[in-house]
């Protein structure tokens, strides 16, 4: 048995750990040993922390999957929440739950026994470790790439040798170089140009169940972060109760409902409309934040979750540095006094290192600044939703016979034709496949060789569609497997979005249109295919009602040449006007 003969570290004795940990160890070792039978290389990524840290690592997992498409990718994490976050992710083949104290020994086993071809460790700085060449199944080019990344890693690794106790030195050194956490991770992972602020998390329709009972226009508020129950005392990340209650009152005065999220042990926030502390799963919390006009809360887990579901957020900071953790597109509210004592002591989170009972940093946060930013986000999102309400009528008229459309599309070759036309003006194109028929259309629309400078992302909405996706089909594009109602990319990241939304259920269709629009950059082009004849008229009149005729570029073609495709309409519309602030 794997645990009986520890060769890596003779002092290690698994029987010193609890029964539960011993069971975790056995499962992990069996899994790693089995992975050796996989034809391709085996990559094992070790993560720590809570769910926010897992989300921060999701872009790394995505990039590794793209870099090593034939590899088996295992993710090892101490928290079961990792499984909830990576549920349905195509970037990871398995999630192994293993207590942090056992990670070091597991890494040693993986390397010395040759069970992994690349071990990845993340303590803000990414660290790659490889076994001896004789045991490695990486190609020479892949090994060379790893070596190149390790050069950059060596610059930063001394600052995490004592992780996390030297994090204060780390963040100051990082920001002095003009970097932040995400660019540091991207750079040390060897993907310097990748966007490590685009977190990956799939939401399913069941996650949206709790949204149905909520008011139509709401903001989410939290005043806790990750595993920080207030039962330990006042935290240097959270606002004093009276201040957060003023924020809640201000949002309500602006006519918006307030939904409180958090863990069961978090302190209540008086004045909120709905209190869901301790009542949501991670997916449900994600869905609720996804449908919120904006999120307000401290730096931490839910701020990362808001990022993952692409909801703009007003994030307030205390002990942790905004220059290191702040996301672009959010409004980061900094303390007006003190702040930034992150890891100057091991207890900085629950006792101000300056011996203040109420930390000066969070006490100095401006409620007005938070309220002003939140209202601006909310107004922008409301305006965006109004525009979408008209566009949604397009997708709500779903087709009855998707195959007819595919047949017609193939004969007319409008998929590739359209793609060519779009790609002349767009360098970032998203193709959204929501069912087998639309995946076929998307694949046919893909040009054989994507022009240089054109960045194509194929969103495959559902794991079940993967069987229809063959490697050569999508070799030149970024394939992102996700849920149908959440496309895990940042706002305004694409010049064109093509979505053959022929047979989507009515509820998903409205969410899908909203998601597609969110991805569009200002002036971007949104293309839908639909079988409904009246769609063009509906959209035209809806836009005309809003006095929006000018910028609307609408193309509607009725087709009657094929009996099965009678009533087919190709929709093409340019979403214009002012976008919500991002």
């Amino acid at each position: 048995m794997a645990t009986a003969s520890p060769i890596a570290n003779p002092v290690f004795d698994i029987t010193c750990f609890s029964m539960a940990e011993q069971a975790q160890w056995r499962v992990a070792m069996d899994s790693f040993e089995q992975a050796r039978k996989h034809v391709g290389p085996h990559i094992v990524v070790f993560g720590e922390g809570s769910f926010g840290d897992v989300l921060q690592m999701s872009p790394l997992l995505h990039q590794l999957r793209r870099k090593f498409p034939s590899a088996r990718l295992s993710f090892v994490h101490p928290a079961g929440l990792a499984q909830a976050i990576l549920r349905g992710s195509a970037d990871v083949d398995e999630v192994v739950i293993l207590r942090g104290a056992l990670h070091r020994e597991a890494r040693l086993r993986l390397i010395t026994k040759g069970w992994a071809d690349l071990v990845v460790q993340c303590s803000y700085v990414i660290r790659y470790t490889t076994p001896p060449i004789r045991l490695s199944r990486l190609t020479e080019a892949e090994r060379s790439w790893v070596l190149h990344a390790q050069v950059e890693q060596r610059t930063w690794l001394p600052l995490v040798e004592n992780f996390p106790f030297d994090n204060d030195k780390l963040w100051r050194a990082v920001t002095a170089e003009g970097l932040n956490l995400f660019s540091l991770m991207a750079r040390t992972a060897g993907f310097a140009n990748a966007d490590f602020e685009s977190f990956q998390m799939s939401l399913c329709e069941a996650d949206y169940e709790k949204v149905r009972g909520l008011p139509s226009r709401y903001v989410t508020v939290s005043n806790a972060a990750e595993k920080l129950p207030v039962t330990e005392g006042l935290w240097t990340k959270t606002m004093p109760p009276n201040k957060i209650e003023q924020v809640v009152a201000g949002m309500r005065a602006a006519g918006l409902s307030v939904v409180v999220l958090g863990a069961k042990d978090d302190a209540p926030i008086r004045g909120a409309d709905v209190d869901l502390r301790g009542q949501t799963s991670l997916g449900e919390a994600g869905a609720i934040i996804n449908k919120a006009l904006c999120h307000i809360g401290p730096e931490g887990g839910l701020a990362n979750l808001a990022r993952a579901v692409n909801t703009p957020a007003v994030i307030f900071f205390g002990a942790t540095p905004a220059a290191f953790f702040g996301f672009r597109g959010n409004v980061n509210v900094l303390p007006r006094a003190c702040g930034g004592c992150w890891w100057t002591t091991s207890y900085y989170l629950h006792q101000c290192p300056r011996l203040l009972l109420e930390p000066e940093c969070t006490a100095s946060l401006s409620e007005e600044a938070i309220l002003g930013a939140a209202r601006q986000f909310a107004d922008g999102r409301i305006a965006q939703r109004r525009r979408l309400e008209s566009a949604q009528s397009v997708a709500l008229q779903s087709a009855e016979n998707a195959l007819a459309m595919v047949e017609h599309a193939r004969r007319e070759d409008f998929g590739s034709g359209l793609m060519s036309a779009v790609s002349q003006a767009a360098c970032r194109i998203a193709l959204v496949a929501v069912d087998a028929a639309s995946l076929r259309l998307c694949l046919e629309a893909l040009p054989g060789d994507v022009a240089s400078g054109v960045d194509v992302t194929l969103f495959v909405c559902g794991l079940h569609l993967l069987s229809a996706l063959h490697e050569p089909d999508a070799a030149a594009v970024d394939v992102c497997v996700c849920g149908p109602v959440h496309l895990p990319r940042r706002d305004g990241g694409y010049d064109a979005v093509l979505c053959p939304s022929v047979a989507v259920p009515q509820r998903s269709a409205s969410l899908l249109v909203e998601e597609c629009n969110r991805l569009l950059a200002e002036g971007g082009e949104l293309v839908f295919y639909s079988l409904a004849e009246t769609v063009g008229q509906n959209l035209r009149s809806a836009y005309a009602r809003e006095g929006n005729e000018g910028p609307l570029d609408l193309l509607a073609r009725s087709v009657s040449s094929h009996p099965a495709a009678e009533g087919l309409t190709l929709m093409r519309t340019r979403i214009s006007g002012e976008r919500a602030p991002v």
Binding site: P268, T344, R354, L356
Partner: protein
């Protein structure tokens, strides 16, 4: 198909399995078994189970169940129930509990806590838990007294706990006591000299009412203390902009 489950036929077996689940870090299962056992138990056995349940509820911060345990309880609170009552007082202060059970009246609980403490009913872990609760419900006098008892007994207390006690004293303007407490803590806690110098200087800063300036020469005396480096950076550079 054979089942691996066995029929539990006695209260003793329920208790045994409950303790087994607790020992193997399965609190939910332990609570279920212990609650079932409590239903049948009488006398001293019931008291023992009640104490175990209280410990489990405290660990899980299960406020409703913890409050319910006091409902049918008459007579003196046991040492474990005192800890439970303190946890409820803390949750009341945080706002996560609306109404306290009548048996958790503040002064009565604190008196009983002192009695239990005097007869040696608490181990070090319990004492540190109680200290944390006292600080959170702003019972500074009792907290300082308890901290001093720990220092006198040469119990090694974490720097974070010492900092919390000092912060409570500083908040109340009891600077001289804060200095005495820190001096006592140093011997018991093997505190690095840099940390001692820094904490002593922070007490002096608070006394002088000049929180944004460092005591002259602190940096030289505190060596490479990270808090001092931070304060130097924070209060000599420009403050962050929103």
């Amino acid at each position: 198909m054979s089942s691996s489950r066995t029929l539990i036929t006695s209260t003793e077996e329920l208790i045994r399995q409950g303790f087994n689940a607790q020992a193997h870090s399965r609190p939910a299962e332990a609570i279920t078994l212990m609650e079932a056992a409590f239903w049948f138990a009488r006398g001293a056995e019931a008291d023992q189970i009640r104490d175990t349940l209280a410990a489990l509820y405290i660990a899980e911060n299960d406020t409703p169940r913890l409050a319910r345990i006091f409902e049918n309880h008459t007579g003196e609170l046991s040492a474990e129930l005192v800890k439970g009552a303190l946890a409820l007082l803390r949750n009341r202060a945080l706002g996560t509990l609306e109404t306290l059970p009548p048996q958790c009246e503040r002064s009565a609980v604190l008196t009983r806590m002192r009695q239990c403490f005097d007869v040696g009913a608490y181990d070090v872990a319990s004492a540190l838990f109680i200290l944390s609760m006292l600080l959170q419900i702003r019972e500074t006098d009792l907290a300082v007294e308890l901290a001093h008892s720990l220092f006198d007994a040469s119990v090694r207390v974490d720097e974070s706990v010492i900092a919390k006690v000092l912060a409570a004293l500083v908040e109340n303007g009891r600077f001289s006591e804060a200095r005495d407490t820190l001096t006592k803590a140093v011997a018991a806690s093997r505190m690095p000299s840099g940390v001692y110098v820094r904490l002593m200087s922070l007490i002096a800063l608070a006394e002088e009412g000049t929180p944004a300036n460092l005591v002259p020469g602190l940096q030289d005396r505190a060596g490479d203390d990270k808090v001092v480096q931070f304060l130097s950076w924070r209060f000599t550079d420009s403050l962050p902009q929103e």
